[in-house]
Symmetry: C2
Subunit: 502 residues, 2 copies
Amino acid sequence: AYQGGFNGKTNFVVLLMDDMGWGDLGVYGEPNRETPNMDQMAAEGLLLPDFYSANPLCSPSRASLLSGRLPIRNGFYTTNLPGRNAYTPQNIMGGIPDSEILFPELLKEHGYRSKIIGKWHLGQQPQYLPHNHGFDEFFGAPNCHFGPYNNKKTPNIPVYKDAKMAGRYYEGDFKIDHVTGESNLTQRFIKEGIQFIEAQTQKNEPFFLYWAADATHGPMYASKPFLGKSARGLYGDAVMELDYGVGQILSTLKRLGIAGNTLVFFSSDNGAATYAKLGGGSNGPFLCGKETTFEGGMREPTIAWWPGKIPPGKVSRQVGSLMDFYTTFLDVAGIPAPKDRVLDGISLRKTLLNNTLVDRPIFYYRGDLLMAVRVGNYKAHLWTWANSWEEFRKGTDFCPGQRLKNMTVHHQEDHSKQPLLFNLAKDYGEKYQIKPNSEEYKSVIPKINAAVKEHLEHLKKGEPQLNYCDRAVMNWAPPGCKEIGQCLPVPPSDKTLCYWPH
Amino acid sequence: AYQGGFNGKTNFVVLLMDDMGWGDLGVYGEPNRETPNMDQMAAEGLLLPDFYSANPLCSPSRASLLSGRLPIRNGFYTTNLPGRNAYTPQNIMGGIPDSEILFPELLKEHGYRSKIIGKWHLGQQPQYLPHNHGFDEFFGAPNCHFGPYNNKKTPNIPVYKDAKMAGRYYEGDFKIDHVTGESNLTQRFIKEGIQFIEAQTQKNEPFFLYWAADATHGPMYASKPFLGKSARGLYGDAVMELDYGVGQILSTLKRLGIAGNTLVFFSSDNGAATYAKLGGGSNGPFLCGKETTFEGGMREPTIAWWPGKIPPGKVSRQVGSLMDFYTTFLDVAGIPAPKDRVLDGISLRKTLLNNTLVDRPIFYYRGDLLMAVRVGNYKAHLWTWANSWEEFRKGTDFCPGQRLKNMTVHHQEDHSKQPLLFNLAKDYGEKYQIKPNSEEYKSVIPKINAAVKEHLEHLKKGEPQLNYCDRAVMNWAPPGCKEIGQCLPVPPSDKTLCYWPH
Ligand SMILES: [Ca+2]
Ligand SMILES: [Ca+2]
């Protein structure tokens, strides 16, 4: 085992895609096979087909990844309406609470340096920014790169270099041509990643790199050499550029001789945005997509890579979660996990090294509502909802081409008295309900009920962070704006309850 | 390049699965990853994700594979009703016409010995059996192993050893326990395959092995060590045993040192039987399944393998067809293809060796009706039909959980005046019609029309073989029955038009 360098400590890398679907990787069956580097990563590492995000939406998923806890605990949800998805647009007042201990904070105490590249999404007010939550470096933005903005009603999203803004998306250096989709942002994210790894290697200082590129989130973008390269349009072009980036980062680790000392996870923050129709990705054989608690919304294309430690080319049926990165990294680094709170992540160290399996439930939340639970191969839907009739009739369809009775419904359906039960190993499309009068149902439901009871008994809900919005908290005058002459006048406060339509 | 042995000739192997879906292989995204050997075959060979059967049903698909011609030409269709799927149950009167030249006939003229193991399905009357159409050896059955039979109203399907029957399914040596699904048939098919390869190697005589195992066709079966092995039930168990068989056959080729001299194709005869619900396989992200001309009915999980010749681990976007095996094998063997008829197959030799691409259309027929056409990445539906309202209302659903306007319909819908157009590279789920008033539609449709016109101009329809049924032609007294005392009395003829419900 490699012990030299980095004071004997293992480096960590998370390559987190944005709205990329389980079915978007060649190795997960995408017919166009646009991802030779990700596929190669799987060939050299461990494929984890039963891996979940903690939420079908960006912000809560990412808050959970870094806090190791469900959104219902870390506050990344709303109580404005029941069962609604909420996130962090730039008028959100909330963000990651100081009371949450993100794992980079713990790594830092043990000599690690952490960098986030790309999308943060845990709040844009200064107190919520990465450098106040364990990260030493930051190249990217606090919010999604929604646009185009004109700096009038909403400011363009700032791009940070560490604790200070360096410019704004759609302006100057950080252009995204929202007509052609051309942008060199992914290339910059790649370069920043490589430079960080090189610098840390030079310093012999252990690191955590959180590479959160967002080119597959609308409005999508790719650099010139990748525009038109795929057969799937701009989405596929973005995938191909991200795949190139993954290859560049892994080959940097190899080139520097530190691959055997670096545990890398690849995954995505939520399912593909099926409502974007041909503009979004693929969830393969799964039901629906982003925003929903069907498999298409939360099953993520996950790969673990650690040459010499993780045996190559294997597949694990471990039911995993993005929240497990927290507990796994701490376990590998020999850092004790916080004992004063419930962590939803488990350590996958043995799964990675020995392909052992640990039983654990998956809780599928939408806002404050526990929609579904997976225990073993069984998934029980306590509630089902695609989206509202109102939205659906206007053409927003979270489940295009898919229609299942009691499942893809347009009102919130309560099944908690008699959950809809599926065997995900046989029926990953969630098409065939196990009949409530069957022996199978009768033997499984008590286990589901026990898991729910256990979960609710220990559930201390966090203060909901995503209830209030205010124009005044937008990115008008971020730290550093003065130095580069990019401060905008802050409008008066209009604090109000945010409205979350689905 | 390997030149020793087999008189410098290349051996050919076709590993043809039955009703296995595109999405059933790990390498094509099956979440349970039950197919390590098939996946390894892909890692050592060429993956062909855009590969089609000539028909969404067993018999016509297999007749086309061996004749290199569409069912509409070789006669494997019915005119009893328009657009109906027909096959060869044991009361069918037709079969493969003598006028068709199957490629084993041509191989035989050039010193090859051919063996079929498993399901023939090109007619059960003696004149239609394999040894009258180019095969030297036969271990398997003329029809599907439907059952259970009691030899009264219908005889149990005979199992042949070469030109004579050796027994019947469900009896004696050829048991299939249709309650537990236990049967050692796949193991026997594996053994027969290995022995044939060994014998040919010993004789230094080039060969074609057509390994047409059928354990994934209902009623499914697996041998004891595989029963309960998968998480998907009997279907998955059968897949795992077939995967084991593929591994055994490929490792035999390696062990005997003839892998570099043997071109192997793996594929399936039609899409997974989605109407079987959890009893069938998976078509991954594709629409509907067996019996339909949507992608789920005819896109097949295909791999080509030829160590040292085909570069390992690559993917080809070549639009291919099972009919291409015919033309490719002849090309590789240097045998001229028949010039007196239209062949629908093309040679994939250069695709395999150099990963070049050839433009070619795909015609999706259902019975006598041209339902759809693929040209480049575009597919146009001239007709759409899932199944009849009558069948659908009784619970037969070819597209479970999938509902698309004008597509998954229950009456035959004529779109020939304005075809429904899809871009399969972007939209492999056939969900998003390209609008008829768009520039894209206007530029593509002329190419589609030209391909259809060209096709119809050269179309000489074969005499339909699947119109008449007769109880008297069933397997009552197959060749060899006397020697083993298994002849049954032949009932009087009741010749009638066969009824094909979908
Ligand atoms: Ca996202
Ligand atoms: Ca079949």
